[in-house]
C-alpha cells in the first residue's frame, strides 16, 4: 500500500507562541519548531500498516526551508522518503489555499492512503483532511481512534460526543488520527542515521502547476486583521487546608453564586 503521511512543522506548544507583528502570520522564526505532535501518531499508524501489509511510506510537508528538520525527524521514525513543498510564495497561505497545494502534491504521489493528525497544535483548525478529500474526490475518515485495513477496505472507529461511530470506505482515502490510536515509536540511533540518507524531493509551486497568485497573501480567503496578547490570568486567593478547606471552597463558590 502506498501511504503518504502529512507532516506539519509547528512552534512548540509547550513554549511561548506568537503571531508576527509585521504580517500577522505565526512567528516561526523565533520559535522552537517541532513536528506537530498528532502527526507522530499518523506516522506510527502508517508504519504499522506497512509492516503488516507491505508498501511504502512517504512524508509530505508544505513549509519553509527550516521544515527540513522536521522532515528528517519524521524519516528517522522509519518512513521511506519525503516530499517537501517549498516556495517563498506560500508564506501567508490560508487553509483553503494550503489544501489546494497539498491536493496537487498528492495528485502526483498516487497514494492509496493519506494519513494525517486530526489537528495541528498551532491552528487547531481541523479542516485539512476534509478539504483535501473534497478536492481529490475521495473519502475522508476523520478522527480515528482505531484503523483497520483489509485489502482495499478501511474501517475506522471514531469518537463522537455521544459515543463512537464505525465508518468504512475503500481506498483511496484520507484518514486523520487522534493520539488515542497508538503509541508512536522513538527513533532509534540506526533510524536517525538512516534518515540522513533517505531521499527528500522538493517541489515548487511551478512543479505542482499552482499559480503563485492562488496562494500566500494574494490568494488568501481570510485575513487576520489584528492580534493582541490576552492579559495573563492572575491567581486569586490561595489558602492552605487546615481542616476547613472544603467548607472555605464552598464559601467561595457561594459568593460567586455557584451554590
Amino acid at each position: 500500500m502506498n501511504i503518504v503521511v502529512l507532516v506539519k512543522q509547528v512552534p512548540d506548544s509547550g513554549a511561548d507562541r506568537n503571531l508576527r507583528n509585521d504580517d500577522n502570520t505565526v512567528d516561526r522564526g523565533s520559535a522552537n519548531n517541532v513536528i506537530n505532535e498528532m502527526d507522530e501518531y499518523a506516522i506510527e499508524e502508517a508504519l504499522k500498516i506497512k509492516e503488516a501489509h507491505g508498501g511504502e511510506v512517504t512524508i509530505l510537508t508544505m513549509g519553509p526551508d527550516r521544515a527540513t528538520e522536521s522532515i528528517r525527524k519524521a524519516l528517522s521514525m522509519g518512513p521511506d522518503k519525503a516530499v517537501h513543498v517549498v516556495d517563498d510564495a506560500l508564506h501567508g497561505s490560508c487553509a483553503v489555499a494550503t489544501s489546494k497545494v497539498l491536493a496537487a502534491a498528492l495528485g502526483q504521489l498516487n497514494a492509496d492512503l493519506v494519513i494525517c493528525g486530526a489537528e495541528s497544535t498551532d491552528g487547531r483548525v481541523q479542516v485539512m483532511p476534509h478539504m483535501i478529500a473534497e478536492r481529490l474526490g475521495v473519502a475522508a475518515l476523520t478522527g480515528a481512534r482505531k484503523l483497520t485495513v483489509d485489502g482495499g477496505t478501511l474501517t475506522v472507529e471514531r469518537q463522537t460526543e455521544e459515543g463512537y461511530e464505525v465508518v468504512t470506505a475503500s481506498t483511496p482515502a484520507v484518514v486523520s488520527v487522534w493520539d488515542t490510536i497508538n503509541e508512536p515509536r522513538y527513533p532509534s540511533f540506526k533510524g536517525i542515521m538512516a534518515a540522513k540518507k533517505k531521499p527528500v524531493q522538493t517541489l515548487s509551486l511551478a512543479d505542482l502547476g499552482v499559480a503563485p497568485t492562488e496562494v500566500g497573501f494574494d490568494g488568501a480567503t481570510s485575513a487576520v486583521v489584528e492580534h493582541s496578547k490576552r492579559p495573563p490570568r492572575s491567581g486569586g486567593a490561595k489558602i492552605t487546608d487546615e481542616g476547613e478547606g472544603g467548607v472555605k471552597l464552598v464559601e467561595f463558590l457561594a459568593t460567586e453564586k455557584f451554590v
Binding site: 511561548d16 507562541r17 506568537n18 503571531l19 505532535e37 498528532m38 487553509a95 483553503v96 487547531r124 483548525v125 481541523q126 479542516v127 483532511p129 476534509h130 478539504m131 478529500a133 473534497e134 473519502a139 475522508a140 475518515l141 476523520t142 469518537q159 460526543e161 455521544e162 459515543g163 463512537y164 464505525v166 465508518v167 468504512t168 482515502a173 488568501a220 480567503t221 481570510s222 485575513a223 486583521v225 489584528e226 492580534h227 493582541s228 496578547k229 490576552r230 490570568r233 492572575s234 491567581g235 486567593a237 490561595k238 489558602i239 487546608d241 476547613e244 478547606g245 472544603g246 467548607v247 472555605k248 471552597l249 464552598v250 467561595f252 463558590l253 457561594a254 460567586e256 455557584f258 451554590v259
Partner: protein
C-alpha cells in the same frame, strides 16, 4: 435583512444543543436567522419548537439516510446548494468535529474563506478568535466569499426571541462521491444526565492526583452537586482513570465554562490550553507550587481526598 444560515447542532435524540441557541442569538445581530437541519428523518419537526423560541424565522431541512448515513460530505453538498440559492449574509456552524468538517468542505466547494473557533462576531463580519492556548486574541475576516464561521460553544449567552418558523424540505441530490465514507454503526456510550463537556456551565476535572479510576467518583460527585460536566487531564486519561472523550487540553476538548474546578491537576500547559478562558477557576492540589494556582481565582492547597468530600457535604447542607 438577508438571511443568516445557522447549521443546527443537535443530539441523536433530537435535543437542540446550546451552541445552536448561541448561534441563533449571534445570527440575529447579522440578519434574519434561518436554521438548517441536516440529520435523521423527522429531525426538523422535532427541533422546530426550540429553534423558533430562539428566533429561527425559517427552517431548511434535509433528512434521512442519504444525509445521515455517511460522514459529512452529503451535508456539505446540500448546504452548498442552499448557500448558492439563498445567498445568505453569513453561515454559522458549531466549532465541533462535525461543524468544522462540513465547513471545511463548504469552503472548498465555494472557494470561500473559513474562520474556526470563533468566540465573537461583529455585524461587519469581523470575528474574534482565541489562539495559542488562550494566550492570544485574534480579529480576523473572511476576505473571499461570505463569512463562513464556526462558533465555539459557550461564547455568547443565548437569549430567546420568539418566531414561528416554517419548515422547507430541501431536495437532496447527493453524489456517489459524497457517499464514500459510510457510517456502519453508531454506538452510544453511557452518558447519564450530565451536561456535555464543551457546553457545560460548570466543569469539574480530575488529574493525576485523583490517583485511580475508582476515585474519579469523587470528581463525579462534586460535578453532579454543581450540575456540571466531568473532565480529566491528559495525565489522568493516559493513566486510564477516565475515558478520552472527557480529556480537557491541547489534545482534547477546549472548554470555557462559567466555573472550572481542577482537582489534583498540576496545570501543565497541555491542560491550560483547554481551560484557561474559563470565567472562574478553582483548584485543589497538594502541591502549593503547582502552576494551576497561577490561574485559580480560589485555590486550596491540601489533600483533595479530605477537601472534596467536605465540600460535597457542605454543598448538600446548603441545598
Amino acid at each position: 435583512m438577508s438571511e443568516v444560515l445557522v447549521v443546527v447542532e443537535a443530539t441523536k435524540e433530537f435535543g437542540v444543543k446550546k451552541v445552536t441557541l448561541e448561534m441563533l442569538t449571534l445570527a440575529r445581530e447579522l440578519g434574519t436567522p434561518s436554521a438548517v437541519v441536516l440529520g435523521g428523518a423527522g429531525a426538523a419537526e422535532a427541533l422546530s419548537g426550540k429553534l423558533g423560541e430562539y428566533g429561527a424565522e425559517k427552517i431548511y431541512a434535509a433528512e434521512g439516510d442519504e444525509i445521515d448515513g455517511y460522514l459529512v460530505a452529503p451535508k456539505a453538498t446540500v448546504l452548498a446548494e442552499l448557500v448558492q440559492r439563498v445567498q445568505p449574509a453569513a453561515v454559522l456552524l458549531a466549532s465541533a468535529q462535525e461543524g468544522k468538517e462540513i465547513a471545511a468542505r463548504l469552503a472548498v466547494k465555494l472557494d470561500n474563506g473559513i474562520l474556526t473557533d470563533v468566540v465573537g462576531l461583529d455585524a461587519d463580519g469581523t470575528a474574534t478568535q482565541v489562539a495559542f492556548a488562550g494566550s492570544t486574541i485574534v480579529k480576523s475576516k473572511v476576505t473571499k466569499g461570505l463569512p463562513l464561521v464556526t462558533v465555539r460553544p459557550n461564547s455568547v449567552t443565548p437569549s430567546p426571541a420568539a418566531a414561528t418558523p416554517a419548515i422547507e424540505q430541501l431536495t437532496v441530490s447527493v453524489t456517489d462521491t459524497d457517499k464514500l465514507a459510510k457510517v456502519v454503526e453508531r454506538v452510544a456510550e453511557q452518558k447519564g444526565s450530565r451536561p456535555e463537556l464543551t457546553e457545560a456551565g460548570v466543569v469539574v476535572s480530575g488529574g493525576r492526583g485523583v490517583g485511580n479510576a475508582d476515585n474519579f467518583k469523587l470528581v463525579e460527585e462534586l460535578a453532579d452537586l454543581l450540575g456540571g460536566a466531568v473532565g480529566a487531564s491528559r495525565a489522568a486519561v493516559d493513566s486510564g482513570f477516565y475515558p478520552h472523550q472527557f480529556q480537557v487540553g491541547q489534545t482534547g476538548k477546549t472548554v470555557s465554562p462559567q466555573l472550572y474546578v481542577a482537582l489534583g491537576i498540576s496545570g501543565a500547559i497541555q491542560h491550560r490550553a483547554g481551560m484557561q478562558t474559563s470565567k472562574t477557576i478553582v483548584a485543589v492540589n497538594k502541591d502549593g507550587e503547582a502552576p494551576i494556582f497561577e490561574l485559580a481565582d480560589f485555590g486550596v492547597v491540601g489533600d483533595l481526598f479530605k477537601i472534596v468530600p467536605q465540600a460535597a457535604e457542605e454543598i448538600r447542607k446548603r441545598k
